[in-house]
Symmetry: C2
Subunit: 344 residues, 2 copies
């Protein structure tokens, strides 16, 4: 039987039923194959897709979304600033985990880097809303978003990577303060009586506060606090400063992996040995931290757990007065940059 | 004037004209603010978005897409396999460049990691097609896609990161063979009389072929060829093998940055110095290569140029018989891993 004879004439568009008949499956199997929702055997899926191609069938998602109001899709808005978001392995690893979590729930994930200002985020949220996307996860850039403005768009949204929780906002974030305490305590446990900090120097920044409070609590000298943005270049500049000091600190807590990678490079270049001359612990625990030299001891953010929780929270949306912040504890992953661990 | 009075009654949905009137701008400015296409002053945009929020205006993109057939959006399908695609800094950097290129043309980009088999790609392409996405860029995983099946979906598509060009397929790829020649020649120019290879050992793989041909042409001993997948772990295993050799090769060409990072880690661990004991050159030139220790000399893929060309090609789509492969030359970026460059 030739393909031409079997196809409906040009006067009629192929329907889902036509595809099902040609592939010898039920209508539901056609739907599952094209949209997910239930597993379809590989051979069956291939038969369905062949029938779709043969008949030129186009399930009109726009029309269907108009009717059902759902496209079984989540959106992920990532902040695109002077530092490209994907330059940071923490964000790429997070995006990857969110995609996997969405897929396990039968949802596709459309990611879109967006300038971090509120106007751009609102524009993109509107764009997703009008495409019947079911919910949007927003990783905010600098500055906070006005939840009232975002709520009025009428699409469920949730804030990821949240540093400062806000009343009435569903959000997810790591316990940054607790992580900084872990990192600083660990350096002190190695016997260092002075710990320096490289990162955002701001009394409201939890990593800065955790470092400060731990040094004070344990009676250890606060090493210098060197300002750095969350990127490699800025960490590199801070590392050069450290290497040039008359009496460099013997221990450094870096507020992110990227900062630590920059510090590492600078110390290597200046012949300062890590961990022998300077012990280093960082924050994030991303892929790149494992393959630096020496490998970084780092507070690992519980990325998979946070991704899972964020997808669950957006799909099982609660009433506005039940919205809340969910905080997740990281764990210290011991590698080489903090010094040798001797058996007790 | 209170908000309530100004809003249209619940019996009528707010229109674009209502928004324009309230914000004191033209209808076109409302469109530009919400969908891009022309710059809008920040203060004006905020006024428009405030009016959108006040009136609860929802421009129905699904309805509009049905009418116009265009949503001013491109899709990017990335291969998600056993190695998460975003673990590879080359792909994240490429995705970032494509997003920037799309934005310059006034298009949003929705990225979606997808299992690399043809069935999954076809499903996702269908999904984009039915949302009136204007075109889709596909980074294929292992195995080649059948262009006939993809063409029948009826959405413009283009293949990125192409190793093997196919007749009738619009595609973009780097000159892998030429890059491997550059890398191998450079190691030989450092005086090495033997160059090893770590990567995919396959006569059809252009990087393997480039290394092989250059060794033969310049009469240099082919060092061992060690198999490696394109990830850090596999490069690490190859690096351990190299370190354990009685007579390790003095020069190594690694077929990707990730492989080289794994090799580096293994050599560090075994006390083999790069570049003094083993000179190393890699391929890709991604962000991570710059901050490894030592920093990697690498053949940099012209990512921005390829991204720009891919967006242009998909938007200025040519007839099927004019489709073609576009190949881009990389450049050798000299850093420390290949050895000291002395002034001539």
């Amino acid at each position: 039987m030739g393909m031409r004879e079997a196809a409906p004439g040009p006067q009629r568009r192929a329907t889902r039923a036509d595809v099902a008949r040609r592939a010898g499956v039920s209508d539901a199997v056609v739907t599952y194959t094209l949209n997910g929702g239930a597993p379809v055997a590989r051979a069956t899926a291939e038969r369905v897709l062949q029938a779709v191609a043969d008949l030129g069938y186009q399930p009109n998602q726009a029309a269907r979304a108009l009717k059902s109001g759902s496209a079984h899709t989540l959106g992920l808005i990532l902040p695109d600033g002077p530092d490209p978001v994907f330059e940071n392995p923490f964000f790429t690893e997070f995006a990857n985990a969110v995609e996997a979590a969405a897929r396990r729930r039968g949802y596709a994930l459309y990611m879109t880097p967006t300038p971090p200002d509120q106007t751009s985020v609102v524009t993109r949220l509107n764009d997703f809303a009008t495409r019947q996307v079911d919910g949007v996860l927003v990783v905010p850039g600098e500055g906070s978003l006005d939840p009232d403005v975002l709520d009025r768009i009428g699409i469920p949204w949730l804030q990821l990577n949240t540093v400062h929780e806000q009343v009435g906002v569903d959000s997810i974030g790591a316990d940054l303060l607790g992580g900084a305490v872990l990192a600083t305590e660990h350096l002190i446990a190695h016997g260092h009586r002075q710990v320096a900090f490289v990162g955002e120097i701001d009394e409201r920044e939890p990593r800065y506060r955790g470092w400060l409070a731990t040094c004070e609590r344990l009676g250890v000298e606060r090493g210098p606090a060197l300002p750095s943005e969350y990127n490699r270049q800025s960490g590199y500049a801070a590392g050069l400063e450290i290497a040039a000091m008359d009496r460099p600190p013997a221990a450094v807590f870096a507020a992110s992996d990227l900062i630590a990678l920059g510090v590492l490079r600078a110390l290597h270049e200046r012949g300062v040995s890590v961990p022998d001359d300077v012990a280093l612990v960082s924050f994030d625990g991303s892929w790149e931290a494992e393959y630096s030299w020496p490998a970084l001891t780092s507070v690992r953010q519980p990325i998979e757990e946070m991704a899972e929780a964020s997808v669950a929270a957006i799909l099982d949306r609660t009433a506005p007065d039940e919205r809340r912040h969910r905080m997740f504890r990281g764990e210290l992953v011991l590698r080489a940059s903090c010094g040798v661990h001797r058996p007790a």
